[in-house]
């Protein structure tokens, strides 16, 4: 591989960093780096999943009672919105690989719209809960749920969906940055690493929600 490039010699492309021996090494490094980062993300969320597991095991009845305060229709809709955004994200990478920049940008925009829709739905869910006092921890004032310490359910709910929501917002920021770069023609079949690693991140955010949805909205 490297010989190949050395023959070409002269000017490496703008995105190429000098300390790598070839472009493939650079791309593979970036992907490996992102995977290691995703590993840290999984353990970061993992702490909250652990808290969830323990409190659900301690207070199974309270969890069942408290989950009725959540609307599975909204959660389900959000699941579908996020899955669609994942599809368009994956398709966008494919477009850049096939040198279809316009289509790639379009698909990124759709991904961004889906993410925004997700946040809007989340906003309606949150504002309803704020309104009736289903707030985390000591701000909890709702009185309609039986069982031991229902405020803990809402603490964990807000922490997990809140942390997830922050990840969606960060992802939206990165996608906006990608769209701007893509419009300038930075990405093509030779170099689309930023889109690809953002895609990995975005799919993980989707994956986390795939678990959050049944764990909070579908407790039976």
């Amino acid at each position: 591989m490297s010989n190949n490039q050395e023959h070409k010699g002269a000017h490496p492309p703008e995105w190429f960093q000098h300390h790598f021996t070839d472009a493939e090494q650079q791309q593979e490094s970036a992907k490996l780096g992102m995977w290691v980062f995703l590993l840290t993300e999984i353990l970061f969320f993992g702490g909250l999943f652990c808290a969830y597991a323990i409190y659900r095991a301690w207070h199974p009845d309270m969890f069942i009672n408290a989950h009725t305060a959540l609307d599975w229709r909204m959660g389900g809709l959000n699941t579908i919105v996020l899955i669609v955004s994942s599809i368009t994200m994956a398709m966008s990478i494919r477009s850049f690989q096939l040198n279809q920049q316009k289509q790639g940008v379009m698909l990124l925009v759709v991904t961004l719209m889906c993410a925004a829709t997700f946040m809007v739905i989340k906003y309606f869910e949150y504002s309803h809960k704020f309104h009736v006092g289903q707030l985390p921890g000591k701000f909890y004032t709702f009185t309609g749920i039986e069982g031991t310490n229902p405020h803990i359910f809402f603490s964990i709910y807000f922490l997990m969906t809140g942390l997830h929501g922050i990840h969606v917002l960060v992802g939206m920021g990165v996608i906006i940055w990608l769209i701007m770069r893509a419009k300038k023609g930075h990405f093509g079949p030779a170099y689309y690493t930023p889109v690809e690693v953002t895609g990995l991140y975005w799919h993980l955010v989707d994956m986390v929600w795939i678990f959050l949805f049944p764990l909070f909205y579908l407790i039976g």
């Binding site: 493939e24 490996l32 995977w35 993992g46 079949p189 994956m207 795939i210 039976g220």
Partner: protein, 184 residues
């Protein structure tokens, strides 16, 4: 540049559009399935089924959207090991939290089940329906022990030394510092 392109097209696995749409369709379908199953009451199996479907969906996302099926196997190793360590964390912690009462039952659960804030909050009509007038009512405390007499201890003027079976008593060992209001 064209040579670079050749190099990449060789290594990048470009999946046909059908795969992405098919996987996406399956994911949406499985979302509907998990919602439908949740409406049926299966007891503890609800959780298992819901988790099994979620795991299946996550595997699809990982294999196809995240290209684990085609990419360097190292990535899959990283992904699986992160789940393994998470599993260690959760399962060993559960070995503690679920087994504390192994030798002595009274050690296994909190003395006062509900947190202090429920002393002043009207909670769930089922417990001690009326009489939630002031902070002195401690009926909510007796959720675990079922010892209603502890409610009377709220004023704190009774002796405390005469109950040898301390585990039964819920009134006076509660975290006193954080609940200065009770009793007045």
């Amino acid at each position: 540049m064209s040579q670079l392109t050749d190099k990449y097209s060789h290594h990048a696995h470009i999946l046909p559009l059908k795969v992405y749409l098919g996987i996406g369709g399956t994911l949406i379908f499985m979302t509907l399935v998990t919602v439908a199953v949740a409406q049926v009451h299966l007891g503890p199996f609800n959780l298992l089924v819901a988790l099994a479907i979620a795991v299946f969906k996550a595997i699809l996302v990982g294999l196809f959207f995240m290209h684990l099926k085609y990419d360097n196997k190292l990535f899959a190793v990283i992904f699986v090991s992160s789940l393994a360590f998470l599993g260690i964390f959760i399962s060993i912690t559960l070995f503690d939290t679920l087994r504390r009462g192994d030798i002595y039952q009274e050690v296994g659960m909190p003395i006062k089940a509900n947190s202090n804030m429920y002393d002043s909050l009207r909670v769930a009509p089922a417990h001690g329906a009326s009489g939630h007038e002031g902070a002195t009512d401690k009926a909510t405390e007796s959720v675990t022990s079922g010892d209603d007499s502890s409610g009377a201890k709220a004023t704190g003027h009774e002796g405390t030394g005469n109950d040898s079976g301390g585990a039964k008593d819920t009134g006076h060992v509660a975290t006193g510092v954080e609940s200065p209001k009770s009793g007045h």
